[in-house]
């Protein structure tokens, strides 16, 4: 048995330089300090993404992307296909959890300022991955073609129309027409299973390669502490120590997903009727609530600009600035550190305040 393994190793090494890869893997370490618990979030997001791909492929075996059959096919999966309820609920829950861990991962990187040189592109690819994850969420939400999804998509795409200059074109592009119809469903399905996965694969590969290249970043405060005490950097080998810990986290995640699927299965709702009036309290999924609630509070007209247009523009610019943070936070100095720290806290608090009350209220119902 051992010699077969050695034969394969040699075969691969002669062609792909396996030995140097294995050496790299052996040498890879992870810094250990009081903030290193946040390091698990990236791997957790990746794990949940893999879960999404696997359960998504399984769902593809039965799902039908047409308005006549979408709802019925999901109902079929939930009721007739063996363990269909499990696959579907896991897919819906893991999707939401993935977006949650992605946000946590992004904020932890932000507060640890891990985006500084040389990791700027890692941050940018990561932010783009976050936008893609939100795109996955938005496109996937429509696929069961139930009432909530239909009207949430209607409202969401209407906001796209508020983008100045290209808004109308963007709306038609997203909807596959003027209204949300079967064309929208087909289009969103194409985005969800082909376009977004393709883009994600490329960006994810880039992101992971960059992380391997530059290793894990250490927060400045910890660096200072280490140089001050003159001691060794405390490092943990990635294989097997960190990897086993990662694995434990993933098993816990599996347990949580199983429990959620069995005890709090994802709702199916009622088939969408485009001609019925929208039910009260239509809102998008929780990860868009901060934008939705903020836009609700902006007055209809500020000066001569339409309130919603201003809101969408503001969010766009904010998103862009956030994307370019590594290029904005370049100067050294305590004042800058405090400024960006304050900015980060403001963003987190703002998003929490605009998301949590509505979310809790709807969960209490």
């Amino acid at each position: 048995m051992g010699s077969l393994g050695q034969v394969i190793r040699r075969w691969l090494d002669e062609r792909f330089g396996l030995e140097s890869l294995l050496q790299f893997a052996k040498k890879k370490t992870v810094p250990v300090h009081r903030h290193s618990v946040w390091y698990y979030l990236g791997g957790m997001t990746l794990f949940l993404f893999v879960i999404q791909v696997l359960t998504g492929i399984l769902l593809l075996l039965y799902y039908r992307p047409s308005p006549n059959e979408a709802f019925e096919s999901v109902q079929y999966i939930m009721t007739h296909v063996k363990f269909g309820w499990l696959i579907r609920s896991v897919h819906s829950w893991a999707g939401n959890l993935m977006i949650l861990t992605a946000f946590l991962h992004m904020f932890s990187v932000y507060f640890m300022r891990a985006y500084r040189k040389p990791r700027e592109l890692t941050w940018i690819s990561g932010m783009l991955l976050l936008f893609l994850a939100l795109g996955f969420g938005f496109s996937g939400y429509l696929l069961p073609w139930n009432t909530l999804a239909y009207f949430a998509t209607k409202v969401g795409t209407e906001m796209a129309a508020q983008v100045p200059l290209i808004g109308k074109w963007l709306l038609v592009f997203l909807r596959g027409g003027e209204e949300v119809t079967g064309a929208t469903l087909t289009r969103f399905f194409g985005f969800h299973v082909a376009v977004l996965p393709g883009l994600t694969t490329i960006l994810l590969a880039l992101h992971l390669v960059l992380v391997q290249k530059f290793g894990m970043s250490v927060p400045e405060s910890v660096e200072r502490q280490w140089t001050a005490t003159g001691g060794q950097r405390r490092e943990m080998p990635f294989f097997p120590n960190f990897a086993l810990r990662d694995l434990m986290g993933w098993y816990i995640a599996l347990g949580v997903l199983g429990a959620l699927a069995a005890l709090m299965p994802w709702e199916l709702g009622v088939k969408a009727d485009p001609f019925a009036s929208a039910p009260a309290g239509i809102r998008p999924e929780w990860y868009f609530l901060f934008a939705f609630e903020t836009l609700k509070f902006i007055p209809a007209k500020i000066w001569f600009i339409d309130g919603e247009v201003l809101g969408v523009l503001a969010f766009g610019i904010a998103g862009l600035l956030w994307l370019l943070i590594p290029f904005l936070d370049r100067k050294p100095g305590e004042r800058w550190r405090v400024f960006f720290l304050g900015l980060g806290i403001f963003v987190v608090v703002f998003m929490a305040v605009t998301t949590l009350p509505t979310l809790i209220a709807s969960l209490m119902k």
Binding site: L54, L58, L61, Y62, R64, N68, E69, E72, S73, Y76, H80, V81, K82, F83, G84, L86, I87, Y251, L254
Partner: protein, 157 residues
């Protein structure tokens, strides 16, 4: 460092503990993988209930209906009415009366579709001809596939 009392015994105890741990971990991992793979594999086997088709359904058997009779069949989540006319041909309609949603029935004596709730009457084309119903019954396409009578929703427009 304190010296172990029996280095060999200690060594073998440690070895057996490690072996035990390996067995526990190995079997745990295998069991967990099975508990993940089994549902996934079972899922991939198509259920026996077959065609999901909410647009198409087998409404009955060619031998089932005599001429000038009708039967109710399930079409997705709503009832449908399959009629066999005097000349042997088939018609199919939604069985939900357009007045107040009672189930209609075929009246062989009048060769009409009748709603018992308020005496609504539809003709053999589903058109509302008498009584309260305001609209005709939705009609479906009927095809014969071997012995099966297949009813299909008509495409819009």
């Amino acid at each position: 460092m304190t010296m172990p009392s029996h280095p060999v015994a200690e060594e073998s105890r440690a070895k057996s503990r490690r072996r035990f741990m390996q067995v526990v971990l190995g079997s745990g991992i295998v069991a967990s993988i099975v508990s993940f793979l089994y549902p996934a594999l079972r899922y991939m086997i198509p259920p026996t209930t077959g065609e999901l088709g909410s647009d198409t359904v087998v409404a009955g058997n060619a031998k089932e209906l005599r001429a000038n009779s009708g039967k109710i069949f399930k079409f997705g989540s709503k009832p449908g009415l399959l009629i066999r006319l005097r000349d042997g041909s088939y018609r199919a309609f939604s069985a939900t009366c357009t007045h107040l949603n009672c189930n209609v029935q075929y009246r062989a004596d009048m060769q009409r579709i009748w709603c018992a709730c308020h005496n609504g009457m539809f003709d053999l084309n589903g058109r509302n001809v008498s009584g309260p119903p305001p609209r005709p019954l939705e009609d479906y396409a009927v095809h014969l596939r071997g012995e099966d009578i297949v009813v299909q929703r008509k495409k819009a427009g």
